[in-house]
Assembly symmetry: C2
Homo-oligomer: 343 residues x 2
DNA sequence: CTGAAAGCGCTTACAG
DNA sequence: CTGAAAGCGCTTACAG
């Protein structure tokens, strides 16, 4: 029960107001106060008003801990990210936060930094706080170990799927993204298309490349040079690979890059080589990272992986799981091509 | 109390184990089980072992809600950010999450998106969850309205200080950062230094410019063109302003840019103009955003605002406030110059 | 329509 | 050294 602090201006001031204080001030029992505040039936309208007024007067905020203890549900979820640092987590996190926020849920954020020990530590803390569910955001698109199937709460894996197929996973459809990108270039009349991409150890790279080749084959085309050029996700690799590409295949008319950074590197070299983009050669990136696409000359066409949507979808899927829908499997979400000036 | 599910392999399996289950299994009272688990005195060593063993057997995890209800402290804090989107929040958030994590605190993350309504909504939710304290991360370095002084918990403002001087605020020292940057260039022998920076509506821009001018004055220098060139925080502005600068002052020997993006724009133009960096002209940025500094040709010298340290410091300051240290005021944290190839 | 009582899962004096 | 009892702040049958 709260401590009465002042009654200076006639108003009641209570330090840490509890339902007890509200009830007392309204002249009713705690039970009635609870029912009035929670909109339960069988409360006299006048009583209800009086209780609400009392609550307002002393700025009563119900203790969610006590409510959660009774309900067995806390209205909180945990979000464990592999690396906050990596920018891919952020939009997912934003989408999830947004979806939960409107659902009156609060989000515990934990950064595991790709460390399994730290992940276990955070998991334990979240279980102890009795979160209603968990979203695990991977640091790459590569599949990751499951948190286990004997947890007392549902888990949704986002971005990186769980290795356990019975878990619920939501990922971006990288293969489709590759196909969409290639289709866009083909539609623009390009026929000598090269693909410069990142580290072959990333499924994001190989899946996209697969999608690209499938789509090109549909139009009877193949990649310039016969295959995708793997390297790293950097501007520097974009530059080096483009230099090499121009030397080997001066007639290339489009470069599909595995990331916006690689595309920026490509644009730099093309400009220095005197190639006009997009007239002589088209360039395209992945990720649609505004900071890179809009600063480019000309503005860069890119594939947006819709990560914020992914985060929102993960949150909704978790809601469903909390409500009893335990069907597992990997769900792939579509991306979208954002056309700017380079294609 | 938990539901016993199996005793297949002789092991006891309990669904949602509570302290009651642990006590029962160990053959002691709930009170004794509690004391044993919490390392209280006056428990027979053998009893203690038995209780711990029982807890382990059924994977007992104490309910933090119940503990919090009793303790009046929840071991949770709220982190309200102005814009998750803006990349400045992230390092601060990482630093704070790190500091709290090692302090066994869990962090509620809320994204207010610069909307006062949403901020109030989140504040209410956090108060209801009885967080022990709050960190408010601004979206720009400009001062922001206080959350009010009648909150039942301490608040630390990070990045953007509170307008109320009695609040606790931690910010990066932009003026000092400007001075440090200028000092670095002077030490490198530059004497015709220009300053191209962002939107004059940002204190980050004007404070840094002030610091630059103060430091130059110390060496008897003034900015090329007499004043800082304000524009926007973009590569494009960096390009345009540099073009203009070269036209007006072809003898400039250093460009101090207000952000790494602006610096990237400057580097592009210098390269096209045939100016050798850093031999003929030095370039320097702010923010030390790795993605821009390391991709630059040559690699960009920049000022790191130490935001992760800022986040960590904010967390520690909040700990102190929770422990009763209520001294307010704005504390300015130092930045550091990260030297690469452009200076 | 209202309120006394039990209980959510735990901790802490207080007796034994 | 151990345990019965009270209590944290709330909600929900159950009587009145």
């Amino acid at each position: 029960m709260g401590v009465v602090v002042e009654l200076n201006d006639g108003a009641v001031r209570v330090k840490n107001p509890t339902l007890r204080d509200v009830a007392q001030l309204a002249g009713v029992s705690i039970a009635t106060a609870s029912k009035a505040l929670n909109g339960r039936d069988h409360v006299h309208p006048e009583t209800r008003t009086r209780v609400h007024e009392a609550a307002r007067l002393i700025s009563f905020t119900p203790n969610a801990l006590a409510q959660g203890l009774i309900a067995g549900q806390t209205g909180t979820v945990g979000l464990i990210t592999g690396d906050l640092d990596g920018r891919f987590s952020i939009p997912i996190l934003m989408g999830a936060e947004d979806a939960f926020g409107t659902g009156k849920m609060s989000v515990f954020l934990c950064d595991a930094r790709g460390d399994a020990i730290r992940e276990q530590y955070h998991l334990q803390a979240l279980l102890s706080r009795r979160v209603d569910g968990l979203i695990v955001v991977g640091s790459t698109t590569n599949p990751r170990p499951s948190l286990g199937s004997d947890l007392p709460i549902p888990v949704v894996y986002a971005y990186a799927p769980s290795l356990d197929a019975s878990d619920i996973s939501l990922v971006a459809d990288n293969e489709q993204a590759g196909s969409d990108a290639a289709a866009h270039l083909v539609k623009r009349g390009r026929i000598r298309i090269a693909h410069i991409t990142g580290d072959a150890g990333y499924l994001a790279a190989t899946d996209r490349a697969t999608g690209v080749e499938i789509e090109l084959a549909r139009s009877g085309l193949t990649l310039v040079g016969g295959e995708a050029r793997y390297g790293s996700w950097t501007e520097d690799w974009g530059r080096r690979a483009t230099q090499q590409l121009l030397a080997e295949h001066p007639d290339v008319d489009a470069i599909l890059c595995g990331s916006d950074q690689i595309a920026r590197g490509a644009l730099d070299i093309l400009r220095e080589a005197g190639k006009i983009v997009p007239d002589e050669i088209a360039v395209m990136g992945f990720d649609n990272w505004e900071i890179f696409t809009s600063g480019a000359r000309p503005a860069l066409t890119s594939v947006d992986m819709n990560l914020e949507t992914l985060g929102r979808a993960a949150a909704r899927r978790l809601f469903a799981a909390i409500d009893g829908d335990h069907s597992g499997g990997i769900q792939k979400l579509p991306c979208r091509v954002v056309v700017r000036e380079t294609t």
